[in-house]
């Protein structure tokens, strides 16, 4: 664990001490090396389920894929923000990379934590860097209200979680993930216990986000700079899913009856947010709503609490993380050239950027879960698990996949196909950096399907 964490912390001296000419190169290089070293976690040889553990941290099959994804994302974020941050004074550039690196440090500690309170603190600790990324480096004045929404939705959910965790701690005497699943099952029946159940999950459902408490997410995505959007879509939403998977183990007897309204809301959200995507005019907002729609499926998979549901949720989380991040990067490349997120102003880009159109095509296909990509695997496993739980869910999930296909197609046709608008006369050509960024997003997606066991979680 420390062999990743310490180099990550050593990013701070790298950022502040390297000469200004080399800041971006050295930080990208160092974070990429960290990402490569972190791949060694995948090489799984533990019989107890936990590995690389020390007193406070460890990895298990559930957290490993998310940890590797976290490490993988930092170099990509640095690559993606290079262009629009380069114009700032050097101290601000360093500040920005420092925020990204601190976010990575907190996230590694969050996914690596073996104690639930430690996870909680790191979960909350990610708020401050993300808030600063959104509100300091966003583009418009609305970013402040987006930051407020982000902070207060999350905190209103997660502060009751702290009280709920402290109550759990009082009942079981320990909150260590290593042993808590072996503790006595609690007799939960009273109304107070039901409220406690809700308190344990609401924080994560807000973070996911569940349909109904998702309003902060499109705002945050639209206003955040590209790195903020990337990390939100890829990792921060997955903190919610990860936390839910950890908590569900402890909520067992109550969950059977309590989850119905939540599952209904999650699956209904898949349809609703998908339909919202169909009539979006704003590029980033569309991708953000598509995230909500996918995460609704993830929430459904987790809440029915079957091994298949969990596996599907984890696979979909990883795949969606990479693909939505790729889409946000592509949206940003358009934004940096046309300075607008409105889709109608940047149509027909295939004519001038054919290779980028390929990236758009591949990312959209991955987003609509084309076989054989891991997105399909995740969705299929979740849909199967939900179908087994109740055949009627197929109406919602089936319609959901159809709508996903429809809006992905809409996104592609709208941005790439058709005639070029008259006002687009002088666009900067694509950098090699941007193509590299897309390769680094899409290559893992393609490679993961050749060995999906590494993101199957506990059950393979």
């Amino acid at each position: 664990m420390l062999k990743i964490l310490i180099p990550t912390i050593m990013l701070f001296p790298t950022i502040w001490l390297s000469p200004s000419k080399w800041v971006w190169t050295t930080t990208t290089l160092q974070s990429l090396i960290i990402a490569l070293v972190s791949l060694s976690w995948i090489n799984w040889s533990s019989e107890t389920g936990w590995a690389s553990s020390n007193l406070y941290m460890g990895t298990d099959p559930l957290s490993t894929p998310l940890l590797v994804l976290t490490c993988w994302l930092l170099p990509l974020m640095i690559l993606a923000s290079q262009n629009h941050i380069k114009a700032e004074p050097i101290a601000r550039q360093r500040n920005y990379i420092t925020l990204l690196a601190s976010l990575q440090t907190f996230l590694i500690m969050a996914f690596g934590a073996t104690e639930i309170i430690m996870f909680y603190i790191m979960f909350e600790a990610t708020l401050i860097p993300t808030l600063i990324i959104i509100t300091r480096w966003g583009n418009q004045a609305v970013r402040l209200s987006a930051g407020t929404y982000f902070l207060f939705y999350t905190l209103a959910g997660s502060l009751p979680l702290l009280v709920a965790l402290l109550l759990l701690h009082q009942n079981t005497g320990s909150l260590s993930m290593l042993i808590i699943q072996y503790s006595q099952p609690m007799a939960l029946s009273s109304w107070g216990d039901k409220i406690w159940w809700a308190g344990c999950l609401i924080a994560f459902l807000v973070k996911m986000p569940l349909y109904g408490v998702h309003l902060w997410l499109p705002k945050a995505h639209v206003e955040a700079p590209v790195a903020g959007s990337m990390v939100l879509a890829t990792i921060l939403l997955k903190l919610g899913g990860y936390g839910m998977m950890r908590m569900m183990l402890m909520l067992d007897p109550l969950s059977k009856d309590m989850v119905y309204p939540v599952i209904a809301l999650a699956l209904w959200g898949v349809l609703m947010t998908g339909s919202i995507c169909l009539r979006q005019t704003d590029l980033k907002s569309l991708i953000a709503y598509s995230s909500v729609s996918h995460m609704g499926l993830v929430a459904g998979g987790i809440l029915i609490q079957t091994p298949w549901g969990f596996t599907g949720a984890l696979v979909l989380m990883i795949a969606h993380g990479l693909v939505s991040s790729a889409l946000f990067c592509l949206a940003n490349t358009t934004y940096e050239r046309t300075h607008s997120r409105t889709m109608i102003l940047a149509r027909g880009m295939q004519i001038i950027f054919p290779l980028t159109a390929v990236w758009w095509f591949l990312s959209n296909l991955a987003n609509l879960a084309l076989p054989p990509l891991p997105n399909l695997m995740g969705e299929l496993v979740i849909i199967t698990a939900l179908f087994n739980w109740s055949p009627w869910t197929l109406i919602l999930t089936g319609a959901g996949t159809l709508i996903t296909a429809a809006y992905s197609l809409y996104l592609f046709l709208m941005s790439q196909r058709g005639p070029l608008p008259q006002h687009i006369i002088n666009l900067q050509p694509f950098h090699t950096r941007e193509h590299l960024l897309m390769i680094l997003h899409l290559l893992p997606v393609a490679l993961l399907i050749t060995k999906p066991e590494i993101m199957w979680g506990w059950w393979y």
Partner: protein
């Protein structure tokens, strides 16, 4: 003010508090409080500004009323029980009266009304003394009193304070008033846990003093008392401006910062006492306070250049304030959370 006078005033200020700390007799405790009040009055009124004089008068009236009530209630107690000792307070009317009088002294809701206008009339240095040192003596008495007083009274005081402290600050544009409301909210956290674990009260008091001192010193360095002028402070001290935003979030109690530690330990204690509902209300009240801290952060750090600003650029005078205390306090404001196990050991 002449250095001789200020020495006498400051040493009386210290003496009054020390006297209250050490006393076991109500009369002596009352004397300490009075010396303390009388010593700060000239400090408050030293700039003969109408606002300062008004603040001094208001403060004097509130403190004198509180001190008179303490004297009255302890006399009743001595009359019925024949005992002046602080630990022997047993008459219920006397305990409730004294608790309310001490609440008035520190500025707990619902007897907090003097506090925001008084803070608004002071210089930032005197305001710092008011928000930190002046809380110590009454809290020493409250901690000693807590076992004898009615538990519901303390809980009500605590809950009211956190909510009113959060609510009141939402509508303010003046920094000193915002800090006064933040002080009320923190006092609520202190008082709620006094009856269960007084060591935690001390811990909150210490962390609050650290955080609020850092904030006051920052504002003093920037010479700013309004949100409007705060928006231009980055031009003077950019690094401190960046740190100050984090210090404000620490006051608000966001996790990786120091301010989370006392809240966490208090919530733990409250849930251990079987009061999860109170604990949840306390946590949600923190959101109210956090909103105005966040607004300050927005104005100060997160909307800096290039943007349109509505205030004129401040004078860039030579800084005469020593920065070492500010630096120390700022580091302690931001980075003490990993010391929680130590705090837990010391408070058990």
């Amino acid at each position: 003010m002449s250095p001789y006078v200020i020495t006498i005033l400051l040493s009386s200020l210290g003496l009054g508090t020390a006297l209250t700390f050490m006393s076991s007799h109500w009369l002596l405790a009352w004397m300490g409080l009075e010396i303390n009040t009388l010593a700060i009055l000239p400090l408050m009124a030293q700039h003969h500004h109408p606002r300062a004089v008004e603040a001094t008068t208001k403060y004097f009236l509130a403190q004198a009323a509180a001190a008179a009530t303490i004297l009255f209630a302890s006399t009743i107690n001595a009359w019925t029980t024949g005992e002046w000792n602080i630990y022997c307070l047993s008459h219920p009317a006397a305990t409730i009266l004294i608790t309310m009088a001490l609440a008035l002294k520190v500025g707990l809701a619902p007897v907090h009304f003097w506090m925001p206008p008084v803070m608004q009339g002071l210089t930032l240095t005197t305001g710092l003394i008011m928000a930190t040192w002046q809380k110590l003596a009454p809290f020493a008495l409250i901690i000693q009193m807590a076992p004898f007083t009615h538990p519901l009274l303390l809980t009500t005081l605590g809950l009211l304070s956190v909510f009113i402290g959060g609510w009141g600050g939402l509508n303010q544009t003046q920094l000193r008033k915002i800090l006064a409301y933040s002080s009320i909210a923190h006092l609520g956290w202190m008082i709620i846990v006094t009856q269960y674990k007084p060591q935690l009260t001390v811990l909150v008091l210490i962390t609050y003093i650290i955080m609020t001192s850092a904030t006051f010193l920052t504002f003093k360095l920037m010479a700013t008392t309004k949100i409007n002028t705060l928006a231009m402070s980055w031009a003077k001290v950019p690094t401190i401006t960046a740190m100050a935003a984090l210090a404000l979030l620490s006051l608000g109690g966001l996790p990786p910062l120091t301010g989370f530690m006392p809240k966490w330990l208090i919530l733990q204690e409250l849930t251990m006492q079987g009061l999860p509902l109170t604990a949840t209300m306390m946590t949600l009240s923190a959101l109210l306070s956090l909103y105005f801290y966040l607004r300050l952060c927005y104005a100060m750090t997160l909307t800096i250049s290039p943007n349109t600003n509505n205030s004129s650029a401040p004078w860039r005078l030579q800084n005469t304030q020593a920065t070492a205390p500010l630096a120390t306090l700022m580091i302690m404001t931001l980075l003490l959370l990993p010391l929680t196990p130590l705090a837990q050991t010391l408070t058990n």
